[in-house]
Symmetry: C2
Subunit: 209 residues, 2 copies
């Protein structure tokens, strides 16, 4: 398996799949040192190539970051799909919400890169609204399954947006120390997340747990 290769490891002159290796290296840096450490040079270093090598695979730094962000959205989408499949019908939306927030909490640096990339374009990635499998459509379709009226298009979009906002807000806030005592009181981070989402009304949960 090549994707966990580190800088010093021997490799032929031609890499084979440097593009892939660079994205992986970027994710390793994100996890270990956070978003501020994510420079093109650092990524090349981590992948064990010269600072110029990435330019054969990405036009510039932004394009690399876009690729990293893209992968993040895919992973998130997969996690949401799985969470939905595993949940009982009535708690599907709740499960998706928890999966979303947990992804953000487990990959905070990656999550930030995803949103920063989106902010630069002033748009969330196109796959969100168009792609049938996108995270956005998953939330919307689940709302319909739970009884939302698919004919009331504006209302449905507003509800989906509201749910997304709530999850995003919670994802960004959940790390603050202010909430440590609440987490302790409720028995952990996930119960805390569930409790906050429950207060947001949008996330009905069937039988708890």
């Amino acid at each position: 398996m090549r994707e966990t290769q580190t800088a010093a490891e021997a490799r032929p002159y031609h890499h084979g799949d440097l593009r892939r290796a660079l994205v992986d290296a970027a994710r390793r840096i994100l996890e270990a040192e956070g978003p501020t450490a994510l420079s093109l040079r650092a990524v090349a270093r981590e992948a064990g190539v010269s600072p110029a090598a990435p330019y054969h695979h990405f036009k510039d730094k932004a394009e690399l970051l876009d690729a990293v962000a893209d992968e993040g959205w895919q992973i998130l989408s997969t996690g949401m799909t799985k969470a939905k499949a595993d949940a009982e019908p009535r708690s599907k939306l709740n499960a998706i919400g928890i999966a979303y927030v947990c992804f953000a909490r487990e990959n905070p640096a990656l999550y930030r890169v995803m949103y920063d990339a989106a902010r630069d374009k002033e748009a969330l990635p196109a796959q969100m609204q168009d792609n049938k499998d996108s995270a956005y459509c998953k939330v919307r379709d689940t709302m319909i399954e739970l009884g939302a009226d698919p004919a009331a298009a504006t209302d449905l979009e507003l509800a989906t947006t509201a749910a997304w906002c709530a999850a995003h807000g919670l994802a960004e806030m959940a790390g603050f120390k202010q909430f440590d005592h609440l987490k302790a009181e409720l028995g952990g981070e996930v119960p805390f997340l569930r409790a906050v989402l429950a207060h947001l009304g949008l996330f009905p949960h069937g039988k708890p747990d």
Copy 2:
């Protein structure tokens, strides 16, 4: 009025209130060029002093940023107080929420600095939980006024947190192009914000408008 002075303007060797001028300069840069342009040197330049001058007033860059963030929290708090005072009793919470989101949307760069500073400390500013006049306490107290049980401490905190998350999430999402058609359909940005908050259930509104 000194606070709008620009770099070239004549001024005596001793500035008078350089600390104030630096914070103002930082805010001008934020508004004009965004958070990535906010370097210590740029702030000094904008204030019309040498790059070393700020060090007589701030230990380092982070301390200047903290001061900027602090001012942001104060302005936000003031805006929320005013919004609450102006609203009818039953729509006070809704008014506070709108004021919060509008502040963030009108000062996006400042808002980001505020949260980045908080993230670095892994805590929202102390004034939030302790200070009777803080934004956090304002939301909580308003919830009590609207009928929340002040004896159910955990539940009250969860509800306040949920409201905060929703507002923060909306504040960060509202700028994306995806929502342009919703804003158009609903007649502007503020109606859109109201509609999303309404879906979040936490923000009861008395008579609309």
